[in-house]
Amino acid sequence: MTSYMIRKFKDKLAFILSFLCVLVAIIPLGSILMEVVKNGAPALSIQFLTSPPGAVGEAEGGIASSIQGTLILIGLTSLIGVPLGLMSGVYLAEFGDNVLGRSIRFFNDVLMQFPSIVVGIFVYMLMVLALGSFSTIAGAVALSIIMLPIVARTTEESIKLVPNSTREAAMALGIRRWRTIISIVLNSARSGIVTGTLLSIARIAGETAPLIMTILGSQWFFAGLKAPMDALPLRVWRLALLPYDYAHQQGWGAALILIIIVLTLNVGVRFATRGRYTGR
């Protein structure tokens, strides 16, 4: 065998090995989706989706309060996290070319990868101890801290794609800079910002760890901002750890609903903005 053939062979081998890596990563994803559908679908029923959890040990009840809790958390978190993240992104993109901007961008990236359980402890110290009880609002604050850097980053990236000529045209018409940013720049960057926001919602909808020490979990429906509440991921966890078969089946059912919410957001966003936005 000539050295050329060996080199060609190595080239082929590298191609095959790297392709195998992709396959290896797809197997768990396929298995997870299959198992969740296979085990979760039989648990679904009208009663399961409309009633709160029953007493522990009895195969009754459902996950209605958990679904409600997750939706409330998504709403409240977006209310806090989106404006904050949006304005941070605007600052970074429009005024961020200085030391302050660079350091904010750096720590934003750091916070984006931060362990969510540490965020949970932080909000526990900040709000749960201060207010004296586990509460819905503490959960929303914790999730906002997770959402903020994601929204800020995607907003910045999308605004940077808006051509400068657009800003210059607005300037030539004598429009104030803040009006330009709000009405023209943000409008042009809309699809990227919406994408980022929806993806950040998908991310926080599945967060469990920070909820343990903020909303705690509950057997009942929403009882006010200052009371504990349930959420889907929390319910999946609690059900999975119970030593009953019915609980495991309910856990798979709750997981199915959760994964439907998360994947719908992810897949939907990709299809809606296909070709227009391809950021990380």
């Binding site: 890596c21 969740v36 110290m125 940013i181 991310r203 798979w252 990380r280």
Partner: protein
């Protein structure tokens, strides 16, 4: 994308408008613009405020336990929250975190690198987008669902295909001792490997794409094959960025909570010292998740758990800052040059 190329083609346009903005800022510093900029700056600054407040709160919360146990808190192995006989040493959980994360890196990083190479350099453009989308979906699956899958499905794969054969033939080696049960350090490490794949592969890919084409062209010009061009021209050039991607993966693995909590077996105290892959262990994050709601609020127990959180915070901060610096050197420098 069109706009981006246009900006690149007319670089003077950018600098002109920036100069223009600065002039406008100065001459017509109308309060509306100033107020808007100030408001945006204040809100953007909240990121830094949050990180600083975290340090303050976590330190304050763990002071009681740090005062009482001092350095023994991080070097001790006993864990007993019963009042009157309290003892809090978190060494087993620090080691548990390090061992599971190392398994995650050893298993996950080569696979992620392979994915990044395939998607950045080798794949035909038709399959690039769908494949990278599928890999990204791995990141979308909530941690708790990985845990559920881990308890009821994956643990049996690990037990039957890895642990049983290894324990039959290599069971005499201390690190492979213990009954293959599937809920142990090895399973936790491999689940973590799966979970860091999307992060590591997407950042690696970004780093690889950022390598200037001339690197590869030079290799091709001396007759390199595709793989040789990637190895000589791209991988060696991107080394520090790839290391950054791996360390970013380490950061995720260290802080990952729910999936690990559900499959690691949750040992406590000296039993949690990671002596064998096939024994139950505990990480810092899983300990907090397991015990936080059971802790008696007036005892030292919550303070000890917050102390664990503080140590985890320090780990995560150091790892993430280091990783960001490595990645920025490659990716941002090149972006800055292009704009």
């Amino acid at each position: 994308m069109v706009s981006r190329t246009r900006q690149k083609m007319i670089p003077s346009m950018t600098s002109f408008s920036e100069r223009n903005n600065k002039v406008l800022d100065k001459k017509t510093g109308w309060s509306g613009d100033r107020f808007f900029k100030f408001l945006a700056a204040v809100l953007a600054f909240s990121v830094i405020v949050i990180l600083v407040l975290m340090i303050v709160e976590l330190t304050e919360g763990s002071l009681p336990v740090l005062n009482k146990f001092g350095i023994n808190f991080v070097t001790g192995v006993d864990w007993n929250p019963v009042e009157g006989r309290e003892s809090f040493g978190i060494l087993p959980y620090i080691l548990g975190t390090l061992i599971t994360s190392s398994i995650a890196l050893i298993v996950g990083v080569p696979i992620s690198l392979g994915i990044a190479i395939f998607l950045a350099e080798m794949a035909p453009s038709v399959v690039k987008t769908p494949l990278s989308f599928i890999i990204e979906l791995l990141a979308a699956v909530p941690s708790v669902i990985y845990g559920l899958w881990g308890i009821f499905v994956f643990r049996f794969w690990v037990r039957d295909f890895v642990e049983k054969p290894v324990s039959t033939y290599l069971g005499f080696i201390p690190i492979f001792q213990g009954t293959p049960f599937g809920l142990d350090i090895l399973t936790a490490g491999i689940i973590l490997a799966i979970m860091i794949i999307p992060t590591v592969s997407s950042v690696s890919r970004e780093v690889l794409v950022a390598v200037p084409n001339s690197q590869k062209e030079a290799a091709y010009s001396i007759g390199a094959t595709k793989w040789e061009a990637i190895r000589i021209g791209v991988l060696s050039y991107a080394r520090s960025g790839l290391a950054g991607a791996a360390i970013l993966g380490l950061g995720r693995a260290v802080g990952e909570t729910m999936a690990v909590t559900m499959v690691i077996g949750n040992a406590v105290g000296a039993a949690a010292l990671p002596t064998s892959f096939f024994r139950g262990g505990q990480t810092m994050a899983s300990l907090i998740a397991n015990e936080f709601n059971e802790a008696n609020p007036v005892s030292l127990h919550p303070s000890a758990l917050i102390g664990v959180g503080l140590v985890l915070f320090i780990f995560a901060l150091a790892i993430n800052v280091f990783a960001q610096i490595l990645i920025w050197r490659i990716v941002r420098v090149r972006r800055g040059a292009a704009e």
